[in-house]
Symmetry: C2
Subunit: 227 residues, 2 copies
DNA sequence: CGAAGTTGACTGACTGTTCAGTCTATGGAG
DNA sequence: CTCCATAGACTGAACAGTCAGTCAACTTCG
């Protein structure tokens, strides 16, 4: 973060810092109120600057919001990579993926991050430029999942599977579950979502389905979809 | 349509017709441009009325757009029920579900219907009233899926499974896949999405995967077929 | 000094909503 | 049957608020 040398001699530091504050503020606001209900005045206020300065930095509102979207995405993947680095076991990694997407408050980032995804999708659906970004983003996400699987195979933790195919299907499942949880569907509780996502992964990857942590004592009616 | 007796003597017919035209126009616009970029002027123009009249009917822009959302949802489920009524076989029903959600242009409704879902989610995330609607909507959707499964079990087409649990997981998977397809992810093509969704269903329901995805040889009566 | 950073005041366009009526048709009174 | 009163559908014009973006001045710093 401190390494950006834009060619300016003196202090890109304070400039970059401002920029980032603004982007972070914008991302927060978007998550809270939505893309179109975010005013530059609000961003400025939260960033501790004047509205004019925000325009001075980003030129236009659209550019600011779009960059904020990208900024937030990057932050998410940074956190993700961080998580992977400190979690060597494949099962725990998979579990982390699930909690990261399906359990509210699991990430120490802003809790309302889901709001960002909804707006990102809506925006991507209509603006090709955002769409391009989102595609890259998702490709990165799936390949992160896939490489965890590949690592697991290489480490002999699981038997060989089609990592790409798994990533594709599982990522879609996670998205779908995350939507329900984010929208607080009373039927799809976070625990339920985690169960479903884990069951799928266990079956597809041949993970041992035994929970290392607690297990419901007498609950034998666990909906395993083994047919 | 013709049954509404509001106490007005003359013709509630034309009123309801106007209302519906406006709602349909609004739904179209929302799908095209997004919720927040839809102006009442645009709705009025498309509906062949004056902006004032739109307000006259709906009181406020928000009410109009919210009702339009609900209107479109209802239309979707109407089409869905229609489809089920004319498709007795469980496998074909499942296939129809998949194409309905994951194949663009499969529905004869407006093609941009996905845009509506993105906006519905974004709106539901922040406005509790819309959220309530969406929850009902999804409950209906899942129970539709579940009842198809239950019917299949009752008809001995498949062996007994937890229909609710299947509906939950499968609906989430469909949502996730639909997102990718709607956003034209180059990796997740419609065919790919269909494959994944069908594989999951086949495995979870114990459907015979033997039948390749192909229309039955000759079906004399196709009530509707695109493509 | 000069360039970059910063700001408050201002503006111009946009747009939801109101309002004061116009138009049409129904239905009862004469 | 005619005529007017009434109601509801409908409209154009104005209103009022919002908000992104401009501008000229001021500050800070090298």
């Amino acid at each position: 973060m401190a390494g950006n040398q834009g060619g300016v001699t003196t202090s890109p530091n304070i400039v970059d810092q401002r920029r980032e504050t603004m982007l972070a503020s914008a991302a927060e606001l978007i998550a809270e109120r939505g893309f179109s209900d975010t005013r530059i005045t609000d961003v400025a206020k939260r960033a501790g600057a004047s509205p004019s300065l925000v325009i001075y930095y980003f030129g236009t509102k659209d550019k600011l919001l779009t960059e904020a979207l990208r900024y937030s995405e990057d932050a998410f993947y940074l956190a993700c990579a961080d998580m992977l680095a400190s979690t060597p076991d494949i099962r725990q990694r998979i579990e982390r993926f699930v909690t990261l997407t399906c359990v509210p408050g699991a990430v120490d980032e802003q809790a309302g991050a889901w709001g960002l995804w909804f707006d990102l999708w809506a925006q991507a659906f209509r603006h090709p430029l955002v769409a391009k970004d989102r595609i890259d983003l998702d490709r990165r996400w799936r390949s992160t999942i896939a490489s965890v699987v590949v690592d697991g195979v290489a480490a002999n933790e699981i038997s060989k599977v089609d990592a790409e195919a798994f990533a594709l299907a599982w990522a879609a499942l996670l998205d779908g579950l995350a939507i329900q949880v984010a929208l607080e569907d009373p039927v799809v509780t976070p625990e339920r979502a985690v169960d479903i996502a884990m069951s799928f992964a266990e079956q597809a990857l041949g993970l041992p389905p035994a929970h290392p942590r607690r297990q419901p004592p007498e609950k034998s009616s666990h909906p395993r979809n083994g047919s």
